[in-house]
C-alpha cells in the first residue's frame, strides 16, 4: 500500500475530506483527534495490518507519519 493510499484510508477512518491529511499533520491540531477516532484507528490497524496497539503506543503518536509507520503488513 502506498503512502497516499494509507493517508486516504486514514481520512476515511477519521471521516475527513480527501486531501486534509499530510504526513506531517500534527494530530493534536485535528478537531477529530478524540477518543473515538483513536479507537477507530486502533481497530483499523488491527483489521488491516494485524497490529495490536497498546495505550502507550497511541499516546506516543504525534503526527500522521507516526501512524503511517505502523501501517505495514
Amino acid at each position: 500500500m502506498t503512502n497516499n493510499e494509507k493517508i486516504s484510508l486514514l481520512e476515511e477512518v477519521m471521516d475527513l475530506e480527501e486531501g486534509t491529511l499530510k504526513a506531517d499533520t500534527i494530530l493534536s491540531d485535528l478537531d477529530v483527534w478524540d477518543s473515538l477516532t483513536r479507537l477507530s484507528i486502533i481497530i483499523m490497524l488491527e483489521e488491516n495490518f494485524g497490529k495490536e496497539l497498546k495505550g502507550e503506543q497511541i499516546r506516543s503518536f504525534k503526527t500522521i507519519d507516526d501512524i503511517l509507520n505502523i501501517m505495514i503488513r
Binding site: 483527534w33 477518543s35 473515538l36
Partner: protein, 253 residues
C-alpha cells in the same frame, strides 16, 4: 396504592407520563445511561406479570437489582439501543438475577456475541489518552472481552405493549449497524447514541455509516414531534426542540 407510594420514594416519574417511573444510573467513566421503567397501574392487578419493567441499555447496578427484588419483580424486558459494550454491559448480570427477554435489532444481535464487534475488547483503549487517574480507574475495572445474546430480534420496526402505552422500536442505523430508537407514545424517546445533546453523532466506528444516518435516521428524527423528550445514551434528558438536529454526522471533541 402502597406500590405506587414506594416507587414515588425511589424513582422519579418518567416525564411526561404520570404512570411510568424511571430509575437512571450511569456507567462511569463513560456516562452511558441505563433506564429502568416501571409502569404503575392499578395495584389490584398483577401488572408485574403482564407488563414486566423495561430496562434500556443495562449496566451492572446492584442497588437497582435489590430494589426490584424487594418488590418481587422477577421478569424484565431488556431493550438494547445498540451493540456497543457501554450499552450492553449489564445484560448477563440481569440474566443471572431475573428472567429476562433481551430485545434488539437483528443487526445488533449479530454483534453481541463478538467482543471485537461490541467493542468490549477495546474498552480500555478508549481511555488511553485520559489522565492517569481515569486510566487507572478503568484498569481497575478489569473489563474482559464481553459476549451476550438477544432473545427477540426484529428488522425495521416493532411495537410492544407496555401497560396503557405503546413502545415503538425503530431501526435507526448510522451510529452503528444495529442502532434503534425507542419511543413511548411518541411523547418521549430513548435515542441511544443516535442523538446526543451538544455532540454530533459518531458514525466512524466500525459498523457506523454516515450516509445511512443521513438517509434513514435523520429523517426519522425530523419526523418526531418537536416537543418530544429525548432520553439519550449519554447525558441527561432534553426536549428535541432544544437542539439543532439538521446536521450531518461528523465527529466532535
Amino acid at each position: 396504592m402502597l406500590m405506587q407510594a414506594f416507587w414515588y420514594e425511589v424513582m422519579d416519574l418518567l416525564k411526561p407520563f404520570d404512570d411510568i417511573f424511571c430509575y437512571t444510573s450511569s456507567f462511569s467513566p463513560i456516562d452511558s445511561r441505563m433506564y429502568v421503567l416501571i409502569a404503575v397501574g392499578d395495584p389490584r392487578c398483577s401488572y408485574q406479570k403482564k407488563f414486566s419493567p423495561i430496562i434500556v441499555d443495562p449496566i451492572i447496578d446492584e442497588k437497582m437489582v435489590r430494589l426490584l427484588l424487594e418488590k418481587n419483580i422477577l421478569n424484565l424486558s431488556i431493550i438494547l439501543t445498540h451493540e456497543h459494550f457501554d450499552h450492553i454491559s449489564g445484560v448477563n448480570f440481569l440474566k443471572d438475577n431475573f428472567k429476562c427477554r433481551v430485545i434488539c435489532t437483528k443487526d445488533c444481535a449479530d454483534s453481541l456475541s463478538n467482543p471485537r464487534k461490541n467493542l468490549s475488547y477495546y474498552f480500555e483503549a478508549l481511555f488511553c489518552m485520559q489522565e492517569e487517574e481515569i486510566r487507572n480507574q478503568v484498569k481497575m475495572m478489569d473489563i474482559k472481552p464481553y459476549s451476550c445474546k438477544a432473545d427477540e430480534i426484529f428488522v425495521d420496526q416493532v411495537v410492544l405493549p407496555f401497560y396503557k402505552h405503546k413502545v415503538n422500536l425503530t431501526h435507526t442505523q448510522g451510529h452503528s449497524n444495529g442502532s434503534l430508537c425507542m419511543s413511548i407514545d411518541n411523547r418521549c424517546i430513548f435515542s441511544g447514541d443516535s442523538l446526543l445533546r451538544n455532540r454530533t453523532v459518531v458514525t466512524n466506528l466500525p459498523g457506523g455509516n454516515k450516509q445511512l444516518y443521513n438517509k434513514i435516521t435523520l429523517p426519522y428524527i425530523n419526523s418526531l414531534p418537536k416537543d418530544i423528550l429525548v432520553y439519550p445514551g449519554h447525558g441527561v434528558y432534553y426536549r428535541l426542540s432544544e437542539i439543532n438536529i439538521d446536521r450531518s454526522a461528523k465527529n466532535d471533541k
